[in-house]
């Protein structure tokens, strides 16, 4: 349906970032959470051919067109979610991990996550004392329509609010924490089910980590409000 090809030169021994001119879809099939509509998924394939060599690499991912917003509702003090402009009543459960010896399987993920959908849930909260869940977990959340609230690796008990009080400044290596957070975001960010990144469980991360996460995860100005008539142009930076 939608195919776009661009030519560009990549200098020897270098690494560049490239942004395609945006693809426009009229009346796209939207992705909806469980109970609000279909979980329409598109298959996005990116490939690169090199002159004199042929296909050098390709990448594919299921993608869902959806807009997820949330804010603290002054009336209730709770977080109010909207999907594609529609408010949604969140029915969710806590998730730690599917096996304490980390023996994960697609079959187990599919079964566990379908079970949540069958219970009429529409969100799973990945607790900060567990894991950043894996692409296979998110794939089945995409497929069954479970929004995901994904916490980073801070908990009140272990980081400054436990008994005894310990690690008030979080992990020893903040740069390592931020490196892991950024790499995790890159691993998971294309999944339509990913609804919210959260600093930690019952605890705000140390100020420098929290500020960096908020900055890194803000909506990029490029996507704030697209002017429909903007000229599509490739951008190599």
């Amino acid at each position: 349906e939608h195919l776009q090809t661009q030519n560009l030169s990549v200098p020897a021994n270098s690494r560049v970032q490239y942004t395609f001119p945006e693809l426009i879809f009229s009346k796209p099939n939207l992705w909806w959470p469980n109970g609000m509509g279909k979980q329409s998924l598109y298959n996005v394939v990116i490939s690169i051919d090199v002159k004199g060599f042929g296909e050098s690499d390709s990448w594919s991912h299921h993608f869902g067109f959806r807009k997820i917003e949330s804010h603290i509702d002054n009336a209730t003090g709770g977080r109010l979610f909207k999907v594609n402009g529609e408010p949604i009543f969140i029915r969710g459960g806590n998730w730690i991990l599917s096996d304490g010896l980390l023996r994960f399987s697609k079959k187990r993920y599919s079964t566990d996550i379908k079970f949540h959908a069958d219970m009429n849930f529409n969100m799973i909260r990945c607790w900060g004392g567990g894991l950043a869940e894996r692409p296979e977990f998110y794939h089945y959340c995409d497929y069954y329509g479970l929004l995901v609230w994904q916490e980073f690796w801070i908990t009140g008990d272990v980081d400054g609010r436990g008994d005894p009080v310990s690690n008030p400044d979080g992990p020893l290596d903040h740069d390592l924490f931020l490196f892991c957070a950024r790499d995790t975001v890159k691993l998971l960010r294309n999944h339509p089910s990913l609804a919210l990144w959260v600093g930690g469980n019952e605890q705000i991360p140390p100020a420098d980590i929290n500020a960096a996460l908020k900055y890194d995860l803000r909506l990029h100005p490029h996507f704030e409000s697209k002017d429909e008539n903007s000229k599509p142009v490739g951008d190599v930076s």
């Binding site: 939608h2 195919l3 776009q4 661009q6 030519n7 030169s9 990549v10 020897a12 021994n13 270098s14 690494r15 970032q17 490239y18 942004t19 395609f20 945006e22 693809l23 426009i24 009346k27 939207l30 998924l41 598109y42 996005v44 394939v45 990116i46 690169i48 051919d49 090199v50 002159k51 004199g52 042929g54 296909e55 050098s56 690499d57 390709s58 990448w59 299921h62 807009k67 594609n84 991990l97 010896l101 980390l102 004392g129 894996r134 690796w153 908990t155 272990v158 980081d159 436990g162 310990s166 690690n167 992990p171 390592l176 924490f177 892991c180 995790t184 691993l187 294309n190 697209k226 429909e228």
Partner: protein, 263 residues
């Protein structure tokens, strides 16, 4: 036409052994003295998973999730970190044509590791939640068997479980960037090896001179969701010593729903 790029997952044929029971170095294990199979001290290993998962699979320890069997497994606080520092070993083949490049990828290691491939050592940095991608083009045997050994070290601060237990034990694990439930919680007994291991996918990927890295897909909307825009940003790495003239494509097709199949 070059062969299609390809990715091979390394999730079988692994063996493991406790580091203190192996007399060879990583260089020797991946050149002159590779293990010949699951004979002591080596055992069949579960990858991806944890050290404890391999010990349970081989019945070296009881399954911690039955009865009070977890009490019969020595905790890392009492055994010391070396007891759960394990070697993992496997072999793989990887045919490379000219101008093709090969990466060895780890999607998750808890908590750090020393990798040996055909006698070459690569030290992986710490951190449970980070990927590692190593360009091994110059190290792999393009027409033969490659020997891979990984020495996996537990978290730096495994902590000690107080007699009273409690949420997160003595909280020492919080000094590392790793999962915190492993010292035990009100709903969970402590995990004796603190989930040490090659806990996520290991793969070999072969590409041509230019590799696609971490694409980012974003959708925006107008006209009350009647129009959508797909913004696609990628990183490209040219590993060759010449400028690459590229043709870059993005194609989007609707996934058929369950009841519909494309013919």
């Amino acid at each position: 036409m070059a062969e299609q790029h390809r990715k091979t997952t390394l999730d079988s044929g692994w063996v493991a052994a406790r580091s203190t029971e192996v007399k060879f170095t990583g260089t020797q294990l991946t050149t002159t003295h590779p293990p010949t199979g699951p004979t002591s001290p080596w055992m069949e290993a579960l990858v991806p998973a944890t050290v404890l998962a391999t010990l349970v699979k081989n019945k070296v320890v009881p399954d911690p999730f039955y009865g009070l069997q977890n009490e019969h497994i020595v905790d890392i606080a009492d055994s010391g970190r070396d007891y759960y520092t394990f070697w993992f070993f496997t072999t793989f083949n990887c045919k490379l044509s000219s101008n093709e490049h090969c990466d060895l990828n780890f999607r998750g290691i808890n908590y750090s590791a020393d990798v040996y491939l055909n006698g070459h050592e690569i030290i992986l940095p710490k951190g449970m939640f980070r990927r590692h991608s190593i360009d091994v083009t110059d190290i792999v045997h393009a027409d033969g068997t490659n020997l891979l050994a990984v020495l996996v070290h537990p978290p730096d601060h495994p902590g000690r479980i107080p007699p009273t237990g409690g949420q997160g034990g003595d909280h020492e694990i919080g000094k590392d960037v790793a999962t915190q439930y492993v010292e035990g919680w009100d709903w969970m007994a402590p995990i004796r090896d603190r989930n040490t291991g090659i806990w996520d996918e290991v793969s070999i990927s072969v590409t041509g001179p230019v590799k696609i890295i971490d694409p980012h897909l974003v959708s925006t909307f107008s006209d009350d969701y009647k129009k959508a825009y797909l913004h696609t940003t990628i990183e490209l790495q040219n590993k060759s010593s010449r400028t690459a003239e590229c043709s870059l494509s993005v194609q989007v097709t609707l996934e058929p729903e369950d009841s519909i199949f494309l013919v």
